[in-house]
Amino acid sequence: MKHSPWRGAGIPTPATPNDCPPVKTRCHCGSGRYAGGGMSETPAVQVNSLVKDFRGSFGCGMIRAVDEVSLEIASGEIYGLIGPNGSGKSTTMKALLGLVTPTSGTCAIFGRDSSKVDSRQEVGFLPENPYFYKHLNGEETIRFYGKLCGMRGSSLRERTEELLELVDLQDARKRRLGAYSKGMLQRIGLAQALVQDPRLLILDEPTAGVDPIGSRQIRDLIFKLKERGFTVFLCSHLLEQVQEVCDRVGIIHKGALVKEGPLEELISIEDQTEIILRNATPDLLHRIHELAAHEEGVDLVRSGNPRTTLERLFLRETVQRDAEADPGSGTRQGSPTDGTPDGCHNDTEEDSP
């Protein structure tokens, strides 16, 4: 059976640098990198009171794109920044990458001022809808970005092989990028972002325009990166995706960070409790209803069958059907229905009622 590259070898395992002491916990499923839950002393990302104003049309007036945003992402954490279009997500990312100059405030990556070029050795960036150079093929693209980071010779060759395997583009390695599909471009984009073995990955809408299978592949890869201790700063308005992968979330609206915290804290409804039962009889359900009705101050808000998501249904009806029809071929996309890549994700098959 073919081994799915999304679950295979090739994930880089960068070492802990001098300015970033080793973390307390080590992951047993990884290959020597510190675990996702571990925190080093120096945060991966530090944004302090970031303000960015842009000049209005014809130079009249100023438009505030980012307003006093402060956030901190610990090493090994997956952080999701969500917000509507034009809320300042991309500008925050660009300021962090030194692509725009902050009007005021500072940004740092692993303690280094992000406006300095050398801080970018630690960062891999995948912009929204990347195109890259269409005249290059997949292999040349990875090599080009590797060379920009100072990689040469056999180390670059090996790294290119690893990354092509990781993003499952070995078969398309000699194909020009002009002939790549949207999902393939996104995957080669991830490969270039990882080429210099960075510790921080910044992903701006990584699944924009990608079909559900490709989207799942990218999501699985993010899980894999988390396992190996990568820090991921994710920007998306696909809320379900953010909810699935992120440890902490920030909500940005009209340039200001209006809410921030651990995902579980933010989304849990504290005055409600859910109980999911398998094979419950009508009689049992009736008794539960009665118990709730007789308890003072308790309301039974809703009961019924939990629902799966449309994404899971789609994947079950496409990928799994293919896998069942041809069990010997394996599945290149991983197993879409389990929702638990490598057992590191605590999702259930069915959503809560």
Binding site: P14, A15, V100, F125, Q196, I202
Partner: protein, 311 residues
């Protein structure tokens, strides 16, 4: 895999070379060398159609060579200038539009390295194109010169026999004929075309750092080139007729004008070489220096603007 224990250098020739090589390949795969086909077609056309000329019988050979090389050198100049403006104007806006620039500058790549890489890529392409065309031109010109020399020797022998020419006349006419063939002066003139294209490309790079469209960059760079061809004469005339422009202020304003519109007058030496004049080597040095100063100035200004550019 080894990690990156130290900071990357802020200026790296190898990184510039990588970006230049990529730019060169990019432009090559945009099929810009189809221009060479135009060059070959013009050469074939010149061989099929005999161009009319009014020179006397003694200068027929030289005139024929001049009529052969002038359009070909003109095509080479056109190639160098068009590529210098259009290719450079395309590069940065396209990288911004495709977001390729984000992925490059998100790597440890200083903006100066990026700009220099782009410029050198274009210059490499112009140099490669001019080299190929020069080799073709030299081969054609040498072949035609040999044929004309054979004819010339026959005519010269007859004229000497008829005592219409002395041996000195023959030597003089032969030297005149050979001055229209493959000469070092011609190679120098083509190098001057490259210098001119380098200035134009650097200017286009500067414009593209603040321009938001390729068309704007092409129009401004082309205008600057045309104005630069007449600016010095116009300035001389203005200063001569009005008496203004003298003194420190006038001197400063004319210098500022030459920054925006480089004075291409010295580069017209190419036309004189095509007319058969010998290229003075000292002029090549001063033109190289002038080119270096202009390119350096435009790169520094481009760097300054690009550093603060919001991408």
């Amino acid at each position: 895999m080894s990690r990156h224990p130290h900071s990357p250098p802020l200026f790296s020739f190898s990184r510039i070379w990588i970006i230049a090589g990529n730019t060169f390949t990019h432009l090559m795969r945009m099929k810009v060398f189809y221009f060479l086909l135009v060059f070959v077609l013009i050469w074939l056309g010149l061989n099929v159609f005999k161009l009319p000329h009014t020179a006397g019988p003694e200068s027929v050979g030289g005139e024929e060579l001049r009529l052969l090389k002038a359009p070909l050198v003109g095509t080479m100049k056109l190639f160098a200038i068009i590529i210098g403006i259009v290719a450079t104007a395309l590069l940065i806006p396209r990288d911004v539009e495709d977001r390729t620039l984000y992925t490059i500058l998100a790597k440890p790549v200083p903006r100066l390295d990026y700009l220099l890489g782009k410029l050198f890529g274009v210059l490499l392409l112009i140099l490669a194109g001019l080299t190929i065309m020069t080799l073709l031109l030299d081969a054609v010109l040498w072949y035609r010169t040999q044929g004309i020399l054979t004819e010339f020797n026959k005519v010269a022998d007859i004229l000497i026999e008829q005592q219409q020419w002395t041996v000195e006349d023959r030597q003089e006419a032969r030297a005149e004929l050979l001055s229209h063939g493959v000469t070092w002066s011609l190679q120098g003139a083509i190098l001057v075309i490259f210098f001119e294209a380098a200035i134009i490309a650097a200017l286009a790079l500067l414009v593209s750092t603040f321009s938001t469209s390729t068309l704007f960059t092409v129009v401004i760079s082309t205008l600057s080139y045309f104005i630069g061809n007449f600016i010095a004469d116009g300035l001389d005339h203005w200063q001569g007729s009005s008496g203004t422009g003298e003194g420190t202020l006038g001197d400063l304003s004319s210098r500022a004008l030459f920054v925006a519109f480089p004075d291409y007058r010295p580069f017209k030496i190419v036309d004189e070489v095509l007319a058969g004049q010998i290229f003075p080597p000292d002029i090549l040095g001063s033109l190289a220096l002038s080119t270096g100063l202009y390119v350096g100035l435009y790169v520094v200004l481009s760097w300054f603007i690009f550093t603060y550019k919001e991408i």
